[in-house]
């Protein structure tokens, strides 16, 4: 009789593991970037325009008063992150202050450009993006 609760516990644990594993797998799949541009916005409601470059008008509109933050991770490799023409760090980078508005973002690994375009950062937003390597 005393073995019944133990059996139920083991059965329950097994069921929980069986149910949670596909969930974890799907979460990992969500973190991977499948976008053709090579850059996926994970959070922060930012918009990315692949291959574009900011205009002088965009540069004037950038506001540091309502600056947000940018976090960049690379899926499947390494690379360095450049924002508005300057080096900000080697991925993963997090909490990099970026002005709201259209910002040039460029991620590369040596000669290989992983992503380059314009990232529209909403006011005071914490933007997180994932760049696919290769």
């Amino acid at each position: 009789m005393s073995r019944l609760p133990l059996f139920a516990l083991v059965l329950g644990l097994g069921f929980a593991v069986g149910v949670s594993t596909p969930g974890a797998a799907s979460a990992a799949a969500a973190a991977a970037c499948d976008d053709e541009s090579g850059l996926c916005v994970d959070s922060g409601d930012a918009k990315y325009s692949d291959g574009k470059q900011s205009t002088s008008k965009d540069r004037k509109k950038r506001s540091k008063k309502t600056a947000g933050t940018l976090s960049v991770s690379i899926d499947g490799g390494r690379g360095s992150v450049f924002v508005n023409g300057r080096f900000v760090g080697t991925a993963p980078v997090s909490g990099v202050e970026v002005p709201s508005g259209n910002n040039d973002i460029h991620v590369r690994d040596g000669e290989t450009v992983l992503a380059t375009g314009v990232l529209q950062v909403p006011k005071s937003a914490d933007v997180s993006v994932t760049v696919r390597h290769g």
Binding site: Q53, R78, S80, R86, V88, D104
Partner: protein, 314 residues
Amino acid sequence: MRRLRSRSGPAGLRGAAATVALSLASFTAPAIAWGSVTTPLPLLVKKRKSKDGLTAEQAADRRMPLQEQGRQMVEAGEIPAAAILYDGAADTHGDPILYLDAGNAHIMLATEQRDIAEAETAKLRAQTAQDILYFHLDERSDPDYRLVTDGEISGLLMRAGQLIEAADALIAAIESEQVAPASEPAPAPDEKKTNGRGMRLAGAGLTGLGVAGLAVGVTGLVLGGVHQSSADDPAVYGNAFDEVDAKGRRSNVMAIVGLAVGGVALATGVTLIIVGKRRRATADASPVDEASDDEDFSMALVPTGRGLALTGRF
């Protein structure tokens, strides 16, 4: 109204034409400059300088005292401190030359300490320097923020490539060094096998068998002697003689077999024990093993209530 008219007159048209000309110049200038064609057109464009801009000369001035400090640390043998200094300065300024200096410091540490992690760090620093240098050649890099001159870039890229190659070679060398000692303990079981323990055990067994065989042989001899004296007795004849004769033959066989088998077994056993002892002496056994070997092997003939008993501990 007059003013408006005069503005829209020939003078106004000239102004508009000049504006268009300047706009065209500013539009085409970067493309021409990118093609390395010397032209006076870029001179027409007034170069805009941002407030927080940096020239390659300013970057060199900022870098020089840090490099001097790092060099002194390396000369004094304080390579870890130099690596920390270069790492911090490179991250702060995003300077590719400081990243290469940091890579050099880490590879020195890796060579000295045979540390793969340090070699990998050196490689990462060189790769970061490569990223920044290649980006300097990209039109998207800030023209008002230059860390090195364009003329320096190819030499620095070569230096980064050499650093990466050196780091890879060092990692491979350290890995092969680490694999070799790891495979060394494998022969240990063989040493244990060849330390003569098995020989000593077999020798002890054969010695015991030999002693028993000799005892049987001696018994056979004694019984044979007794039966021989009975057979020599003239009073014994007929069936009694045949019976004594058969017993005497069996005793003789027992004596021959016992002495022969016992002798061979004893000789072999003693030989095995001696060889086993010698092997153990030459084997590189641990102190614990040696102590246990000294303690666990003993043989003795012990008198008991029923005779002699051969006892041994292995």
